[in-house]
Amino acid sequence: MIELNLKGLPCPKPIIETKKRLDSMCEGEQLKLFIDNETAYHNVTAFLKGINAFVNGNKIKDEFIIICQKVAYINAASPAETDCETPSCFCAPNVDRKLVVQLHSNVMGVGDDDLGNTLILAFLDSIRSLPIVPGTILLYNSGVKLALIDSKSLEFLKELEFLGAEIILCGTCVNYYNLKEKIGIGRISNMFEIAEKLTSATTIVKP
C-alpha cells in the first residue's frame, strides 16, 4: 500500500497533499495516511467521505491512520443526506479470530540471535501484508521485547493492530524483564487468558 506522512502540516495542507496523491494513483489503489493531530484527522476523514474515498480510520497511540482508496469519480456528488455513512465496496482484510500467532521469543529459530531477530522482523513484516490477519498475537517470555517502544518490530505490530489483530502481552514476563514502562503496544494480560486463547484457536502459528 502507498503511504503518505502528513504529520506536522498546517491546515489545509493534509487534505491538499492527500488529494494530490490520490490523483496520481490508479482506480482502486489504496493509500495509507499518517496524521498527528485530531483536527486534521477529522477534516481529512470528512473530505475523503465527501468524495467517497474513505475506507477506514483509527487512532493508534498518538498517531492517526487513515486508509483511503482512489475512486473513479473523485468529485462525485455527496450523498443526499450529508451525514450519512459513505457506502464502500471495499472490505478490510479478513481477520481470522481463531488464528493465533504465538511470539514466545524475540528471535526466530535457534542459532545466532542477531540473525534470529532479523528473521522475526521479516516475519512480522510479511504477515502484515497477508490477506488473513490473525485475530490474536500473543507475546510471552522474551517475545514481549518485540512490543518495546524502541523496538523495530513496533511499527509492524501497530499495523497489525490497526488491521484488527488483538495484541496480548504476558504480564508475568513483562514484570520479569522489568519492561512495564517501556511497552509501546498491546494489552497486558495473564496466563489464564493466554491459555484460553491457545486452547480455543483453530490455528496456532509459532514462528
Binding site: P10, C11, P12, K13, I15, I16, E17, T18, K19, K20, T39, H42, N43, A46, F47, G50, I51, N75, A76, A77, S78, A80, E81, T82, D83
Partner: protein, 348 residues
C-alpha cells in the same frame, strides 16, 4: 534588526484569522442554552434568533441597533486588516437595515512583539471605513495581547418600519446574495501559497467593501428579512435564518456568486478547517450538490455580503439596481423560500 525596521506580516501571528477564528457555533449554543432570555417590549431582536445585532425601540421613530465584532488578522497588511475588521463589524448594522452612528475600537495588541506603527495602521484602516460609513469612532479600549485583534462595537439606527431581521422570511421570497463566496478558501490558499495574487486582492477588496448600498436598497424596497454571511458560512447563516423564520431555504448552488478559481481550489483539497466546523453545525440540511459546492456553502466568510429574502415581485428590479452599483455588482439570485419541510436548508 530593530523592531521598527521589520516588515510585519500579520499573517505570521495567526493560525486562523478573520471570522474563521469564531468559536464553534455548536459549542456556543450549548454554552448559552442555560441563560435566561431577557424579555422587554422594546427589545425587538434578542439573542434567541441568533440575529446579527440586538434591536431596541427607543421611540416610534427610532430603533437602536447594537452589535460588536472583532478578530485576529486575516491578511498581511495592517491597514487592510483594520479596514476589513471595521467593515465586518459595521455590516451587522447594515444587515438589520440600519445606518451606523457611532463606534468604539476594540483593540488587542502586543507592543513587545510588534512596532506600534502597526497598531496605528490597523486603527487607521478602521477609522477610514467608519468615516466612509458616515459614522464616528468615539473612543475604544486597548489591551496587550498576542496575536493582535481588532474590531468595533457599533450602534446604529433604523426606523421601526425598516427594521430587517432574520426571522421574517415567508414562503415564495426570493434569495439574493450580494457578495461572492469563497474568501475563506482564498485566504487558506494564500497561506499555503496556492492563491493567485489577483484573486487574493479581489478577496481583500470585497471584504473591505461596505454593505451600505445593499442596506439602502433593502430600505428602498422594504425588504423585511436578511442576514449578513460571515463566520458560519452561507449554510450556517441560511440555517439560522430559516430556523428563526420557520421556513425552508432552497439554495441552488449552481447560481451562487463565487470568487474566481475557488471551486478548483476546493476540488484540489484546499478546504479551510472552519468549513468542516460549519458543516457539523448545520444538522438539518439536505444536499444533492457536489462535495465542493457543499464546502463552498460552508466556507467561513469574513465581511461577507447580505443574504436577503425579497418578495418575488420586487426581486428582479432590486437585483438590477444592485448589479448596477460597483459595490454589489456580483449580486445574484441564489434560491427561494418555501413552507418549512423536513429540513431547514436544501442545497441542490
Amino acid at each position: 534588526m530593530l523592531l521598527h525596521e521589520m516588515k510585519i506580516d500579520l499573517l505570521n501571528s495567526v493560525d486562523f484569522g478573520g471570522c474563521s477564528a469564531k468559536l464553534s457555533p455548536k459549542l456556543l449554543e450549548e454554552l448559552l442554552s442555560d441563560f435566561p432570555t431577557l424579555k422587554n417590549e422594546n427589545l425587538l431582536v434578542d439573542v434567541s434568533t441568533h440575529d446579527d445585532a440586538a434591536a431596541y425601540k427607543i421611540n416610534d421613530e427610532t430603533v437602536l441597533i447594537f452589535t460588536t465584532d472583532f478578530f485576529p488578522p486575516l491578511c498581511s497588511d495592517p491597514y487592510t486588516f483594520g479596514q476589513i475588521a471595521a467593515t465586518n463589524a459595521l455590516s451587522d448594522v447594515y444587515a438589520m437595515g440600519g445606518k451606523p452612528l457611532m463606534a468604539l475600537n476594540l483593540t488587542m495588541f502586543p507592543t513587545a512583539k510588534m512596532p506600534v506603527e502597526v497598531l496605528k495602521n490597523i486603527v487607521k484602516g478602521g477609522y477610514d471605513k467608519v468615516t466612509e460609513a458616515g459614522a464616528m469612532i468615539v473612543g475604544g479600549h486597548t489591551i496587550e495581547d498576542y496575536p493582535p485583534k481588532y474590531g468595533l462595537a457599533v450602534v446604529g439606527t433604523v426606523h421601526p418600519d425598516n427594521l430587517v431581521t432574520n426571522a421574517n422570511a415567508v414562503p415564495n421570497d426570493v434569495l439574493i446574495l450580494t457578495k461572492p463566496l469563497g474568501v475563506g478558501v482564498v485566504m487558506a490558499a494564500k497561506k499555503v501559497d496556492m492563491a493567485d495574487d489577483k484573486i487574493y486582492d479581489l478577496a481583500l477588496n470585497q471584504m473591505s467593501t461596505l454593505n451600505a448600498f445593499a442596506a439602502s436598497m433593502m430600505r428602498k424596497y422594504h425588504v423585511k428579512c436578511a442576514t449578513d454571511v460571515t463566520g458560519f458560512g452561507l449554510l450556517g447563516h441560511a440555517y439560522e435564518l430559516a430556523k428563526a423564520s420557520d421556513v425552508t431555504l432552497h439554495i441552488n448552488t449552481k447560481s451562487l456568486p463565487v470568487l474566481p478559481n475557488v471551486i478548483q481550489l476546493l476540488e484540489s483539497g484546499c478546504i479551510p478547517g472552519a468549513a468542516f466546523r460549519n458543516k457539523n453545525y448545520v444538522e438539518s440540511v439536505s444536499s444533492t450538490a457536489t462535495f465542493s459546492e457543499l464546502m463552498l456553502c460552508c466556507d467561513a466568510q469574513t465581511s461577507g455580503g447580505l443574504l436577503m429574502c425579497v418578495p418575488s415581485e420586487k426581486a428582479q428590479q432590486l437585483l438590477a439596481e444592485l448589479q448596477a452599483c460597483p459595490d454589489t455588482r456580483n449580486s445574484s439570485i441564489i434560491g427561494k423560500v418555501s413552507e418549512k419541510n423536513n429540513v431547514f436548508v436544501s442545497l441542490s
